[in-house]
């Protein structure tokens, strides 16, 4: 957990992303998100598959245009930026993707993959400078610099994910969205990649939005954790507080699903099942869903009401 200055780097306000699914129906993938991330902080975002975590991440980076709301980076609303200014802004915000097999262009060499951002932003003055920077980045993520001329299919999942991390770091970003960066990796490799991410955060002063569905890993890496359910945020608190004192029934249900590495405790563990209400995120286009309000139950611990 990095050096925190207490300044808000990212402020997300009323963010909505609806997808048209035809026949007058919309999928409310992200519905009214409000949160901030302090500089140097890691905000974990958890929720079941399909709850809108990845869509939220991609909308925050403006890979999808939002339906409503704003995202302020250092006080600048990125949705109001012109294409030229947005391109410059992309140097500050980067993403690490989930599937290291799909996120690297199979026809690019490692140096093309990492160097692409340098080319787009004209960050390398000469060929030699570009090569030096790429080797620097490979070194930073613990890869052999001889591998720069190799193709992605020659690497293992963990190595590929390191290439993906090096690519994200190439433009010296301040904020990185990690979209389930470890869920496609072996457990032994997961720890290596998470440790690398934490080490990089400390060295480079990065701010993370860490999206995952592995609750234990999120607790380990995050300062605060947000729980998402059907496109909405239901609870937000420091990781200690959230895991020891969950308030929202969905959070309780989610936490009750974590296996305990102690057979005696594990045999006593009770799953709290939740019966879904409201019928899911696909609604008719003109139907108004009431915006849930977040209530602060204890300092820094916010819960969606009514619950």
């Amino acid at each position: 957990m990095g050096v925190q200055t207490g300044k808000n780097l990212i402020e997300v306000e009323g963010l909505k992303k609806y997808f048209n699914v035809g026949k007058g129906k919309v999928l409310k993938a992200v519905d009214n998100l409000n949160f901030y991330i302090r500089e140097g902080e890691t905000l974990g975002m958890v929720g079941e598959s399909g709850c809108g975590k990845s869509t939220a991440g991609r909308t925050i980076l403006r890979l999808y245009e939002p339906t409503a709301g704003s995202v302020r980076f250092n006080g600048t609303d990125i949705y109001k930026l012109s294409p030229g200014k947005m391109k410059a802004m992309r140097r500050d915000m980067q993403m690490i993707f989930q599937d290291p097999y799909a996120s690297l262009n199979p026809r690019f060499t490692v140096s093309d993959i990492i160097g692409e951002a340098l080319d787009i932003h004209n960050m390398a003055g000469s060929k030699g400078e570009r090569k030096k920077r790429i080797e620097e980045l490979l070194d930073l993520v613990g890869l052999n610099t001889d591998h720069a001329t190799r193709y992605p299919h020659e690497f293992s999942g963990g190595q590929r994910q390191r290439i993906g991390i090096a690519r994200a770091l190439a433009v010296n970003p301040k904020f990185i969205i990690c979209d389930e960066p470890i869920s496609a990796l072996d457990v032994s490799i997961q720890a290596q990649v998470v440790n690398l991410l934490q080490e990089l955060q400390e060295r480079l002063g990065l701010t993370y939005l860490f999206i995952a569905h592995d609750l234990s890993m999120v607790k380990h890496i995050s300062d605060r954790v947000a729980v998402m359910y059907l496109g909405k945020m239901v609870e937000l608190a420091t990781s200690e507080e959230l895991y020891s004192n969950p308030v929202h029934p969905y959070t309780k249900s989610l936490l009750s699903a974590i296996p305990v590495p102690d057979p005696e405790v594990e045999s006593q563990r009770k799953r709290i099942l939740m019966t879904a209400e409201g019928g899911g995120p696909i609604r008719s286009a003109d139907e108004q869903t009431e915006d849930t309000a977040m209530v602060e139950v204890s300092p820094g611990h916010w819960v969606a009401t009514p619950y």
């Binding site: 890979l63 996120s103 193709y151 690519r167």
Partner: protein, 321 residues
């Protein structure tokens, strides 16, 4: 473990601590990749080279192209006649040392005319295929990349064009315009690009949501970079296969039109017009039909075999399906 011990009845050799030496863990050495680095194109070439049938097709094609280039020159050099020179005292001659493929009803040498015909047919086939490629990639690329309403409208347009009988369009066009090399290529490409555009559209739609494309967008890449560096290179496999298979289609269509008398006009010959010409006396002078017909068949077959081989080489997962 117990089972393994039972199966392996040899006694274990006695070992002492001195038999073991520590291995230095060398991060650098353990990560070295030994396999030679192959680009995607080298990989494809290696796979194609091991496919004997496809390589046979490729060799035959190369020989035919060489024949089409130097065949008429050889005859000119050895015997001193070209595709127009006729000898009315030697009409309908069977193959001989003077006329290797015989002569036609005007006493023109069939060897020269067959290779000239192959030249014309290949030019038409390649030109039509390349124009299909150009239009198809641009049109299909726009449909696939932008999607939505643009895609719907453009796709409807190509579907309507595809629904009009293509032979009718072609014949009408050739009746209105004066038949020439250019007109025939135009007639063949007026609907020929549609298939290519559909292939490109499907590929781009599949690829544009890949995470590496998103990654490039998140770095600020523009449309040009996405299309020409990421999408089209990764769609090149199906594009090349479609291109290879559209050449024989164009050659066949040209031969067919020439056979109907709508093709290139005399004194230029194409393989199709020579077959048509030979039809009048094929019972008595079969060589006049045999050589051009044989060459059309060989060209078609060679392109199709090569195309199939390329498909397997570019996408090995498709093989045996």
């Amino acid at each position: 473990m117990a089972n393994e011990n039972k199966a392996n009845k040899q006694p274990l050799p006695t070992l002492s601590a001195a038999d073991f030496a520590p291995v230095d863990i060398n991060q650098h050495e353990s990560e070295v990749i030994k396999r030679e680095s192959l680009t995607a194109w080298r990989d494809t070439w290696e796979r194609l080279r091991s496919n004997k049938i496809a390589m046979g097709g490729l060799v035959v094609l190369v020989l035919i192209v060489i024949g089409a280039i130097i065949g008429p020159l050889i005859a000119q050099w050895v015997h001193g006649y070209n595709y127009k020179s006729n000898d009315l005292s030697a009409t309908n001659q069977p193959p001989s040392s003077l006329h290797w493929f015989g002569t036609d009803d005007l006493g023109r040498d069939m060897f020269v005319r067959t290779w000239m015909g192959a030249r014309i047919s290949l030019i038409i086939g390649l030109a039509a295929a390349l124009i299909d490629l150009l239009i198809g990639v641009i049109y299909g690329g726009i449909m696939g990349y932008f999607g939505g309403r643009v895609d719907t409208i453009m796709n409807k347009f190509s579907e309507i064009l595809y629904a009009i009988p293509y032979l009718l369009v072609t014949i009408l066009l050739l009746v209105v315009l004066k038949p020439s090399l250019g007109t025939i290529i135009l007639a063949l490409t007026i609907t020929g690009w549609i298939n290519m555009s559909w292939i490109v559209r499907g590929e781009i739609m599949k690829l544009k949501n890949r995470e590496y494309v998103l990654a490039s967008r998140s770095m600020g890449a523009g449309t040009g970079r996405l299309l020409f560096r990421h999408l089209l290179p990764n769609a090149s496999g199906p594009i090349i296969v479609t291109l290879t298979l559209s050449v024989p289609n164009a050659i066949f269509a040209e031969s067919f039109l020439s056979f109907l008398g709508l093709g290139v006009q005399a004194p230029i010959s194409s393989l199709g017009s020579m077959v048509e010409n030979a039809l009048t006396g094929w019972m008595f002078f079969p060589w006049r039909m045999l050589f051009p017909a044989l060459l059309i068949s060989i060209i078609m077959l060679a392109f199709n075999l090569l195309g199939d081989g390329l498909r397997d080489a570019l996408d090995p997962s498709l093989k045996n399906k």
